[in-house]
């Protein structure tokens, strides 16, 4: 019998027990799922985005379903960094979860301040920088759509924390790889991509948008091929690990991102539909590694073969 493949993944100074992570905005603060799954079985969970202060977000309706996907504009409702640390983090620590906090800001200083608060807390293992939320007026994507903004946020946070920093990139740019490079040069330990695609759904009878914010971010299986392409482009460009996401709903999908260049993957929308998907994903990834005779998951990363497809 073949030995069990090594699923561990290194992100800067952090070693994840496996490459499967819960994506920000799709897993609450993690505590919501504590009664349903073993949080310590995940490679990591990424919390909902946190600013310094509480935010109420947009009015409902906040989501609408689309073909093989969904549009959301939640508006980063959140309890703020300090309340998260005081009220929710202890439970995640008790459940031995690997916690990556998604950090938001309306200014470079706010990103640094939130990161500092989280660095001082027991039980935060990494920081994902939200420079890509398409649904808020200030902050988020305004940094992620400018190379200088991306570099500035990352380097300011680099000075504020020793935790691994993972800027989350927006796909709403022409050349995503240049943003991955700006993040790398700013001192990022990894990049995660993609956040959602800015999109719109209208009710043709009323001629109004279907969600209160008007525009929203598209996620789900519908975006997967574009996300795979962007991960591939970034992998050609940067040396830091890439955490891939965008419509992953099966082990096959996860492996596709890894072949394109993702060292780890995140699952977002699929968790809404299949909250118990995690065990199946891990088993499927392991099965793939065994079938393809890989001793460790890292051997799959960035192994796209080019040339003409061979007929089956």
């Amino acid at each position: 019998m073949a030995a069990t493949p090594d699923l561990s993944v290194r992100i800067g100074s952090l070693t994840l027990r496996n490459p499967v992570m819960a994506a920000s905005g799709c897993f609450g603060y993690g505590v919501e799922y504590a009664g349903l799954i073993d949080l310590s079985s995940l490679g990591a969970l990424v919390t909902k985005g946190l600013f310094l202060k509480e935010r109420e977000g947009h009015p409902a309706p906040r989501i609408v379903e689309t073909p093989a996907g969904m549009l959301n504009a939640i508006g980063l409702q959140g309890i703020g960094a300090r309340r998260f640390v005081a009220e929710l983090l202890p439970e995640l620590v008790a459940r031995r979860a690997t916690v990556i906090v998604n950090v938001c800001g309306t200014t470079v200083e706010e990103y640094a301040e939130v990161s500092r608060i989280l660095s001082d807390a027991e039980g935060v293992h990494g920081i994902e920088l939200n420079i890509s939320c398409p649904n808020i007026k200030e902050g988020g994507i305004q940094f992620g759509c400018s190379l200088a903004g991306t570099h500035d946020v990352v380097s300011a946070v680099r000075k504020a924390t020793r935790l691994p920093i993972i800027p989350k990139l927006t796909p709403n740019v022409t050349d995503v790889a240049s943003f991955a490079r700006a993040a790398e040069e700013g001192g990022a330990d990894a990049v995660s991509l993609v956040n959602t695609f800015l999109a719109m759904v209208l009710d043709v009878e009323t001629r109004r948008p279907k969600i209160s914010n008007g525009l929203g971010g598209l996620s789900g299986p519908a975006i997967r091929p574009i996300a795979v392409r962007m991960v591939y482009e970034c992998h050609q460009t940067v040396r830091i690990p890439i955490i891939g996401m965008g419509g992953i709903a099966s082990a096959r999908d996860a492996i596709e991102f890894m072949i394109a260049g993702a060292a780890a993957i995140q699952v977002g929308t699929a968790n809404f539909v299949y909250p118990l998907i995690w065990g199946k994903l891990l088993a499927g990834i392991e099965d793939y590694l065994v079938r393809h005779r890989h001793a460790r998951v890292s051997e799959v990363v960035g192994t796209v073969l080019t040339g003409h497809p061979v007929a089956p």
């Binding site: 905005g25 799709c26 897993f27 609450g28 919501e32 799922y33 009664g35 349903l36 909902k48 109420e56 977000g57 009015p59 409902a60 309706p61 906040r62 989501i63 609408v64 379903e65 073909p67 093989a68 996907g69 969904m70 959301n72 939640i74 409702q77 789900g220 299986p221 519908a222 709903a249 929308t269 968790n271 809404f272 539909v273 909250p275 118990l276």
Partner: protein, 275 residues
């Protein structure tokens, strides 16, 4: 803790060209369900439609029909109204098909004790949580009145069921084909105005949001407590996505968005700040 099962469709009874009752073999969900809780249902596998939809638990059943003893329950039913793709699939579902169900979820109704009377206010498909609630309340000896409004007489369902439980019925239809013509809030308001101050009923409401807001306002006007079951567009049912929020008056008097999937779907009518 919610249970995730691929439940077999054991019966599908059409009630009209839009409404049906779908019976699903999911004993673990049926055993655990409390009045007012819901189940996230995926009408078919695959990515289109992608998301599950929330449904109130309509009836809790054993092999021979309604079953009050949790350990004897083997199935539950949904009251479905065909409106979109998922509800269309559930309307057309065939016996033997499997439907993914995650539940029971959410905060159930509070159960009053005698001598408090329970007044249930249902609009259209909002009848769904009240079969189980009426059963439980009647089993504790609570006097129950159902105020039930629909568009027309042919869309007033399960009246025999409620009558057999000893529930007093007050009916309205928009076209006047049965009961009083108009909306259900009118007789609710009128009858609440006639009760003695010492015997104010507890009001439970489920239906369209306009009706819920009106029912909560009317209850408050007459000094009654109310609980309403809201239905917002929901992504996950578990508190993960923050889609289904309702503005609720907080301790600080200001509105705060709470997730109706985990703080609700049953919420204190007096605290909702309808948007």
């Amino acid at each position: 803790m919610p249970i995730d099962v691929e439940a077999e469709v054991v019966a599908n009874t059409p009630l009209s060209s839009e409404y049906n009752v779908l019976v699903l073999a999911a004993g673990d969900i049926a055993s655990a369900a409390e009045p007012g809780q819901f189940v996230m249902v995926k009408a078919r596998s695959g990515h289109d439609p992608l998301l599950r939809r929330p449904f109130s638990v309509f009836e809790l059943l054993g092999d021979r029909g309604l079953e009050q003893r949790p350990e004897r329950r083997t199935r539950f039913s949904l009251l479905n109204k065909r409106a979109g793709v998922s509800t269309g699939l559930l309307y057309d579902a065939r016996v033997g098909e499997r439907v993914a169900c995650l539940g029971p979820l959410g905060r159930p109704f509070s159960l009053v004790e005698p001598p408090t009377h329970a007044w249930l206010v249902a609009g259209g498909v909002g009848l769904a949580p009240f079969a189980v609630l009426a059963e439980r309340l009647r089993a504790r000896g609570v006097a129950v009145t159902l105020f039930y409004g629909a568009r027309r007489a042919s869309e007033l369902f399960y009246l025999d069921f409620f009558e057999a439980l000893g529930v007093r019925l007050v009916l309205t239809t928009e076209d006047g084909s049965r009961g009083e013509a108009g909306r259900i809030i009118a007789p609710l308001d009128r009858e609440l105005g006639q009760v003695q101050s010492g015997s104010r009923p507890f009001v439970y409401a489920c239906g369209p949001e306009g009706m819920l807001a009106a029912a909560a306002a009317v209850a408050m006007k007459h000094g009654c407590r109310s609980e309403v079951s809201v239905e917002r567009i929901m992504g996950c049912g578990l508190g993960g996505c923050y889609s289904c929020v309702v503005p609720l008056r907080g301790e600080d008097g200001r509105p705060h968005h709470v997730r109706s999937c985990i703080a609700g779907p049953v919420l204190d009518g007096a605290r909702i700040l309808w948007d």
